[in-house]
Amino acid sequence: MSQAQTTSTRSSSLGATLGAIGRHRVVWPLAALALLFIVDFIISPSFFNIRIVEGRLFGSLIDIPYRAAPTALVALGMAVVIGTKGIDLSVGSIVAIGGAVITWRIHAGDPHLLILFIALAVGLLCGLWNGFLVAALDIQPIIATLILMVSGRGIGLMINLLYGGTDPSFTSPLLQGLSTGHIGYIPTRLLVFVFIFALLWTLLRRTALGLFLESVGGNTAAAYLTGINARMVIFSAYVISGLMASSAGVILTADTHTSDPISVALNIELDAILAVVIGGASLGGGRIYLGMTILGALVIQSLTTTILTSGMPPEYNLVVKAVVVVVVLLLQSSNFRSLTLSILARRKR
């Protein structure tokens, strides 16, 4: 009896410590990232080397954020939407439509600075449409954004037909500079990302909007009763997500300098949701972690990079990703944690 008691107290104190560590949301994603880096270092000791080639920084540590930037932009928008207990499945389609519009307007001969704003306006428009469906018509977010997801790539193909669609490639010093250029040693894309992140952070954390978004996600009815215009707040979340997706669209389209609505940003919505979840936010809404979302996007990209550096066939990417999702989810589940702890305690006895 007394033995059983000590075991249970020991396991509960162990549980409390582990729980306290596990509860801090920054620990798990950071641990995952560190683990990946260690694996990378073991596979390829030159992993952390950063060289300067042709006047720009070069190396895996630059490459990972460089490739993660578009996904991270989409994921930030997704974090805002998920914070309101919603979801935006249409981000990939928004990227596709944006890419088609950019190519169309370049072929039409518009000034490229104007095209940049047109592309963002397209994202705004898509966000307005999603927001209208969710906030004004009260349609479930999954299905409301599914509409644009299903039809968006078709719309992109139709826009491609506007200029004949025979040659969807283009050159644009401005847009390509934003995507693949560099200022000093640093890739422009990362500077663009930091700029947009700073704007979003200011909007959410230096105005009341972030608080409103989280309160609506936490409990829409209660938020409404405290005087928050819940509809407008939800509406704004989808507009933000649309804008973020279209800015990622500019980077992705300029990167390949072509419009390919069928395959551009395929499954980016899944990666973005994954980044948000790895970042510790619940799909149940109520919390927006911007910094953690970026960390989540970095973890996903590091995973891909690790698989590539390890020499494993890229086909393994999806399976490894799936295993990571499952492990992250199980670690987040309190039921599963207590089950493993009780099994561990039983073993010790």
Partner: protein, 320 residues
Amino acid sequence: MNEKYLPLAATIVVFVALFAIGGILYNNFVSTLVFGDLLADNAFVIIAAIGTTFVIISGGIDLSIGSMIGFVGVVMANLDVVGWHPLVSGGMMLVFGLVYGALVGLVIDFCDIQPFIVTLAGLFLLRGSCFMINLDAVPIRHDFVQDFAAASIPLPGEGELHSSAIVMLIALAAAIFIGHFTRFGANIYAIGGDRTSAALMGVPMRRTMMGIYAMGGFYSALGGVIYALYTSSGYPLAGTGNELTAIASVVLGGTLLTGGVGLVAGTLFGGLIFGLIATLINFNGSLNGAWIMIVGGVLLFLFIVLQRFLVGSFRLRSAA
């Protein structure tokens, strides 16, 4: 008429109207030949969508359908190479679908994670497994495949009911029985209507949740078997995006994504509407595939708004 049949009636009206439009535009469109082909061509999606109907009625969602269709085909094709009979490998994959689904249901219920995320992981896992097995299409050369494709029941007129359509109709009948005439079916509706109340009323949550996703896994595996037999090959990219077609079919069929409301039979017509749009666009010949996506999105939008309107007015009326 009972108001729960209204969305189904609306779906059937749209289906008949689309078919009539086809008849006005093209000669010989309204024939059992076109109808029989429509049933056969879309059998695999509709079968998978039937399983999804249960998942959605319970308030969940299943994103791994398309990957399951691809995975089943790839495994069957590779087992065919080493000499397995397609019926044996197919049967094994059905068991796999059942067990896999039950496991998904267990994880969702025990760990209390959103179905969206768990089945998303399933999507990655199954699709990734396809790529790990092989990257190219592998033909299934067993004689049974030809026999299966040739088997059919003649319909009045020139048309015939192909074997895949027959399997689909049997699967549908079984699903209608399970959904509307068993205690398990009633439990699914109860969970979808209100989870907490259902648990308090004594619905065995874990068992039912495992059963729901096991059904989803079984039906999507069956869809995969039919697809593999129908195309007589296993292709690792097969079924990409079919989860969305299946979910859209369920929604067009009048099932509410919020759960608790819907009819299994509606999914048949929802899936047929999608197939009909594709057929109409193919008949035209000058329209490209982009139209299928756009028209699909527009129809989805119209139906959801219609549902919204119907549900809104009825809920308000019964509350007042």
